[in-house]
Symmetry: C4
C-alpha cells in the first residue's frame, strides 16, 4: 500500500474520532431549562476539549513521523492500524471519564489508552528505523532517537497521572493537559529540532501549499 | 504540515460535523404515528437546517482564507485546530437549542459558539497576515483588511441576538439567519471584491476543475 | 472554490450519510436473545438496504453531472450545498420509516425527500447549462436535456408512491425501489447515451485509474 | 467513474465504519463507578477489537484488488457498492454480538455477514478478470486464481464457525480471529506471491510515498 493512501486513511480516522467526541456531550433530561442542561454538561465539555486536543496532538505527531517515512510494508501497515485502533478507543475512554465524573478507574483507563498510543507510535517509528529501511535516506541520524524520546517521554507523565489517580484526581487531570501544552505553546527547543531535520531533508514543497 | 493536508483534514471535519447534525433529529416515542413523530420533530428540523447552513458558510469562508494562504507553521496549525474544536461544538449547541425549545440560555450559547468561531477565524487570518508572512505575495494589500471585516461584522449581529435572547427569541433566531443569507443571496458587492482579489493573484486553475 | 474540492467535500458527505444509515438499526431490548432482536430489526434492515442503494444512486448521479461541469461559481456551490442538505436528511426520513413501520406519513416524507433531491439536482444542472456557462464546451448539446429528463422522471414515480401511500403501502415501497433498479440493472439504453456523451468529450483518463 | 474516485469513496466508508464500531461500546448505568461500567463493557471491547481488525483486513484486501484493476464500469461500481453495503452492516452484526453476549444467532449473523463480504469480493474480482477486461495487462495470469482462492478460503472457516455456533461458541469466536491472524502475522508464503505479482507489474511508485 502506498504511503499516501495510508496517510489519507489515517487522516480520515483521526478526523472522524476528533468529531465523534462531541457525541458524548448531549443535553439530557426533558423538562429542564437550557441553563440546567448546560450546567449539568459542563464537566463533559471540559473532557471533550481535553480529548479533542489530545487527538489533535496525536494527529500532528502521526504526520511528523510519516513525513520522514519513505516506504511502507505490511508490518508498518499493521503497526499503523494498531495505533488507529487505540485512537478510536479514545471516545470510549473519554465517555467513561464523563460518566464516572473522572473517578480513579476512569483516569487509569484514560491514561493507559494514551500510554498505549505512545507505545505503538514508538514501536512504529523504531520499526521504520530498523537499519533505516523505511525512512528517507536524507533524514539526519540523530533524529531517529529524538522522535523516540518525544514518543516515550509523555508515557512517564501519563504513568504519574495513573499513579496519583486514587489520591489527587485533579493533579492527574492537570498532568494529562501538560503534554499537549508542551506541543502547543511556543517551543523553540522543539521547533529548532524538527525544522532542522526537515531542512536537512531539503523538502521545500512541504511547507508551501498548492495555493 | 503542508497546506493541502491541513485543508483535507479540515474538510473532513467540516463534512462530518455537517452530517452529524442530523443525528439530533430522531423520531422518538414508541406507539406514535409517523405524523405525530414528525410534528414533534418539526422545530428540530428547522434548527438542523439553520445549523447546516451555518457550517456550510464557515466551510466556504475557511476555504476562501486558505486560498490566499501560501504556507503554514505550527501556530497557524493550532489556530486552525482551535477553529475546528469550536465548529465540532456546533452539534452540541444545536442539540441544546432543540432540547430547550430555543430558550434564552440555549440562544446565548449558540450565539457565543458562532462568535468564538469568527473570533478564532479572524485571529488566524490576522496571524497569517502579520508582516504578510504566510499569505501569497500577490494577494492585494487591501484584501487583508477586507477579510478581517468580513470575519468581525457577523460577531456584532450574533452579539445583538444574544442581547435580545431574553426578550425576543424569534428576533434572535432571525438574526442568526441573516448572516448566511448575506453570503448565500446574490451579492455583487461581495463577489466583486473576492473575484478582484483572486484575479490579482492570477490563479486561473482554481475555478477550472480537473474534468 | 475549485470543482475538485467541491467533489471531495460532497463525496465525504455522501460517504458519511451512507454509513450513518446503519446507526438506525440497533439491537434493542435487554434480556432478549440474538434471534428475537434480529427478528425485531428485520424491517429496519430492509429500509437500511433501500436507503443505502438510494444514496448510492444519488452519489453516482452527482458524479456524472460533475463530470461534465467544468467550472463552479457561488450559486452552483449553494445549489450543491442545498442538495447535500436534503441528502443528509435521508437518515431521518429512513428512521421515520423504521419507527412508524412505514406508515403513510413516513412514506410521504420519504418520497418528498427524494423528490426534493431530484428537484435540486435538476436545478443545479439547469443552472450549469444556462448559456452553457459552466459545462465543458465539448459536451454534446443533446446531453443537457437528457440529464434533465433523467433527473425529473423519477419524481413522477416518487409522486405516485406518495399518492398511493394511504392505500397501497407496499406498492409505494416497491415504487421507491424501481428507480435504483433502473440505474443498477443492465441498461444499454442508458449506457449508450452516457458513454456517447463521454466519448464526445474525449476524456480517456476518466475510466483508466492511476493504478 | 474513475478508479481513483471509487477508491477514495470506499476508503471513506471503510474509515467511517471502522471508527463507528466504538459507538457500540458506551459506559452505561448512572450511579455506577468507572470500574463497574468498565467491567460491564469488557466483552463489548473484545468484540470491538475483533471487528476493527476484520474491517482492517477487508480494507487492505480491497486495496490489493484495486491495485491490479485498471478500469471500472457500471457493473464493477455496483459490485463495489454491494461490498460496501455489507461492510457498513458489520457494526450492526457486532452490536448484535454485544447485546446478546455472542449467542448462537448472533454468531451466525456475524459469520454470514463476513461470508457475504468475501462472496461479493470474489464476484467483483471474478468480474474484473472476465477476459481480463478490467485488470492491468501486465498482471500475471496465475494471480487471478490466487486472489480468488484468498477470497474464498476464509468462507470455509466462517462457515465452520457458523456450524459450531450452537455447541462451541468460543471455538466459533476463535475461528473468526484465525483469518485476520493469517493476514497480520508474518507470512512469507503470502508476501512472496503478492510482491511477485506487484513486481511483475513494475509499479515502483506504489511503495514509495510522496514524502
Amino acid at each position: 500500500m502506498s504511503k499516501g493512501r495510508l496517510e489519507a486513511f489515517s487522516d480520515g480516522v483521526f478526523a472522524i474520532v476528533i468529531t465523534l467526541l462531541i457525541l458524548d456531550v448531549r443535553p439530557e433530561g426533558s423538562g429542564l431549562t437550557g441553563w440546567q442542561m448546560f450546567a449539568h454538561d459542563w464537566h463533559k465539555i471540559l473532557i471533550f476539549v481535553l480529548s479533542f486536543v489530545m487527538v489533535g496532538v496525536y494527529w500532528i505527531s502521526h504526520h511528523h513521523m510519516m513525513h520522514f517515512i519513505a516506504a511502507t510494508d505490511r508490518t508498518l501497515l499493521w503497526f499503523n492500524l494498531s495505533l488507529l485502533l487505540v485512537v478510536v478507543f479514545i471516545p470510549y475512554a473519554a465517555a467513561l471519564m464523563s460518566a464516572s465524573h473522572a473517578d480513579a478507574t476512569a483516569i487509569r483507563i484514560y491514561g493507559s489508552t494514551l500510554i498505549l498510543i505512545n507505545l505503538i507510535g514508538a514501536a512504529l517509528w523504531w520499526y521504520a528505523n530498523l537499519k533505516r529501511r523505511l525512512v528517507h535516506s536524507t533524514m539526519p541520524e540523530w533524529f531517529a532517537g529524538f522522535v523516540l524520546r518525544l514518543q516515550t517521554a509523555p508515557m512517564l507523565i501519563y504513568g504519574l497521572a495513573i499513579a496519583l489517580a486514587s489520591w489527587q484526581r485533579f493533579v492527574s487531570l492537570a498532568l494529562f493537559a501538560v503534554v499537549p501544552a508542551f506541543f502547543i505553546l511556543p517551543n523553540p527547543w522543539l521547533e529548532k529540532r524538527i525544522s532542522g531535520a526537515r531542512e536537512a531533508m531539503l523538502t521545500p514543497e512541504d511547507s508551501i501549499g498548492q495555493g
